[in-house]
């Protein structure tokens, strides 16, 4: 959330060129929404790129030296070793942490609310306040549940598909 604030407000505070640029460069969006949306996008991309690259790095480093040595004595080149042997083991290792992270990402989108991006919770709240109905906010909740549930099923299926080998 802090990162979203920083990305959204900092350019304005520092009077950087980015501010007018965003307004002119992204004209095809409605102006006020687009900068907010862009800020949220940038914040999420930076934040999750950091998390994911960390997961990939950990996955690649967790493959034992023995696998590389076995490839070397069999005459595989470095790239052959990576694509034919290491990669599939990394994929298997990173699926559980990846699925966690992606599900957290879905839930984290509600943080964009704080800088006024019209996302799911925002819409739910406005609808509730303007129409005086409580149900839309529950519908929004149900939507999260279904979305996250679907993702969970997808990842479970993936993990099962790869369960024929152990790393």
């Amino acid at each position: 959330m802090l990162q979203i604030f920083v990305v959204f407000y900092l350019p304005g505070l520092l009077n950087l060129f980015t501010w007018p640029m965003m307004n002119t460069g992204w004209k095809w969006f409605d102006d006020t929404i687009s900068t907010r949306f862009l800020a949220a996008l940038v914040a999420f991309i930076i934040n999750y790129a950091a998390y994911f690259s960390e997961i990939y790095r950990g996955g690649i480093e967790s493959i034992s030296k023995g696998q590389y040595e076995a490839c070397q004595v069999l005459g595989l080149t470095k790239s052959q070793t990576f694509f034919k042997v290491v990669l599939m083991q990394v994929v298997k290792r990173i699926i559980p942490p990846m699925s966690n992270e992606i599900i957290t990402l879905v839930k984290d989108t509600s943080l964009a609310n704080t800088i006024g991006v019209v996302e799911l919770m925002f819409e739910g709240k406005t609808f509730m306040l303007t129409n005086g109905l409580i149900w839309p906010i529950f519908y929004a909740g149900a939507f999260y549940l279904i979305f996250v549930g679907a993702l969970t099923l997808l990842f479970n299926w993936l993990e099962k598909k790869l369960s024929y080998y152990k790393v």
Binding site: G66, Q72, V73, G75, L76, K84, V85, K166
Partner: protein, 274 residues
Amino acid sequence: MAYLSVKDVKKSFGKTEVLKGVDLELNKGEVLSIIGSSGNGKTTFLRCLNFLETPDSGTITVDGEQIFPPLSGAEKVVNSGLTFGMVFQNFNLFPQYNALENVTLALNVRAENELKEQKVKFFARKKLMKEKKKENELIGKQILEKVGLADKMQNYPCELSGGQQQRVAIARALALKPDILCFDEPTSALDPELTGEVLKVIKNLAEDNHTMIIVTHEMEFAKNVSDKVMFMADGVVEEIGSPDEIFCNPKSERTKAFLSKSEETFSEEKLCQC
């Protein structure tokens, strides 16, 4: 001249000198066992032969051809000619491939490399590879049959016992037809009741006149299977000779001490009734 000739190979890790000048001569079809207590550089020596480590100095010649230091002047030596094959203590099979795929992987990769070298175009190559893969599958099946795994070809490593995994690893190394096959304590990671099946496979290979170098703690096996036994102590070859010479009439005091100690710890019947 001997088939394999190693002269004065030295290797240090930082300040610790692990190999202090190892010499070795081995003829084609001979089996050499390397014995000695832990930390004496046996593994390091095998790794130097396979270029998993680069020796600091010394020469390695196979069949009259100097393979280390490389004559071409290349900085890093790669085992591209695949003179040596290696079987590891902890198998190092590829978990995502079944037994047969583990054996054929290197064959397929090699076939593809050859086609690339001949500059065969992408689609033509894919087509040729299909046939090659079929051929390699037959080769792989034959080798797996030879190590007694005809019924386990489609099984993944996690579905196999340690002994079976090690036999797959041996088949994988054999597939490339290396001139000299190295084993680094092939049975040390196995339950005692599983060592027999692996040792039997190695013994069959010895009878087929494969040139092999085996690091082992199985004295009984070393005595039965090898043409030469080498005792390593402290980074040098303390003594080398026929099994009878080493096990029955060791000349060096250290060899004697090592042998009597291993007889105690392994509580085997006396290695030598002489």
